[in-house]
Amino acid sequence: MPRYASQTVLDVVTHIQRALDPTLAYRYACRVGMCGSCAMTVNGVARWTCRTHVDRAAKDDALEIEPLRNLPVIRDLVTDMSGFFDKWAKARGRFEGGASRNDDFAKVVPQSREREQVDAAIECIGCGVCYASCDVVTWNPDYLGPAALNRAWTLVNDVRDTTNTERLRAIAGDAGCHACHTHVSCTERCPKQIAPTAGIAGLKRAVAKAALRGEL
């Protein structure tokens, strides 16, 4: 493998596909850390390959590149992400407001606690790195996973959303936030420096409060 300065793991995979094995299947789009589609397991760690320099990831001048864990493999380095995104839908990851086009804009104070919680979690681009790094997903395939729960957390804190009781029902229980063991792998590995663990802990508190109020 030719080596050069600032070479990324994605460069290596691309070289293999173009020069060594044209049958190699892998997925990428933006190459600059915006789309999240090039996530793979590099030397045992889920990463964005486009933002991972070979110099930093190689051990003893060797790279072992595998598909993301916890997802079915379609071919080579390409995983089937549909189950991952189905869980976003299961966690009611869709905004459901109560206002119509005739209403005025909602006013959300940027410094409000809820808005700050949303800001800390909203930048997720759905790359699946956290999901592939989560041991609980491995042990419990029904577990919604850090990304879907992080998305639910942003909506629980969205003061405009009107379906939070249903959302809390959807994310509670053994396949939801209560399955999290706080291993913090998702937070450790998230390329966007989001802390899904903190959001999941927030969901546990929100669910507990709703249960005590008899809303669940």
């Binding site: 609980v136 042990w139 419990n140 029902r169 509670a172 229980g173 053994d174 939801g176 209560h178 399955a179 063991h181 546990k204 669910v207 507990a208 249960a211 669940l216």
Partner: protein, 112 residues
């Protein structure tokens, strides 16, 4: 099990963990303190027999164990052994009773 009951189990486990944290600290501190002067078993029993304070403390300790341990095992059985059925919960309820019975037997053994 409904998500509401699963939430209640989670709250029970957190609450029992808080109780256990306190109980373990008190228990260890008491043990270290009790053996410093070389207390004999008879001397220890002399202090615990008829002492309602220790009875209450260790009964709380046992109760917290009986609540906390089966809920933790529930997750272990599900994740490591794929046992998620209602039979698992019945078995764990029986295990909770066993922990409580054995624990209270020990507590009453030094109280009566």
């Amino acid at each position: 099990m409904t998500f509401r009951n699963e939430t209640l189990l989670w709250m029970l486990q957190r609450a029992s963990a808080a109780v256990l944290a306190l109980c373990v600290v008190v228990h260890l501190a008491t043990m270290v303190y009790a053996i410093r002067g070389g207390l004999s078993a008879a001397e220890i029993l002399g202090r615990t027999r008829g002492n309602y304070g220790w009875l209450a403390f260790y009964s709380l300790f046992v109760l917290a164990c009986a609540v906390h341990v089966p809920i933790g095992l529930r997750a272990v059985l599900a994740e490591w052994f794929k046992w998620r059925s209602g039979a698992r919960d019945l078995a764990l309820a029986a295990f909770a009773v066993l922990i409580a019975a054995l624990g209270m037997r020990a507590v009453l053994g030094v109280f009566l």
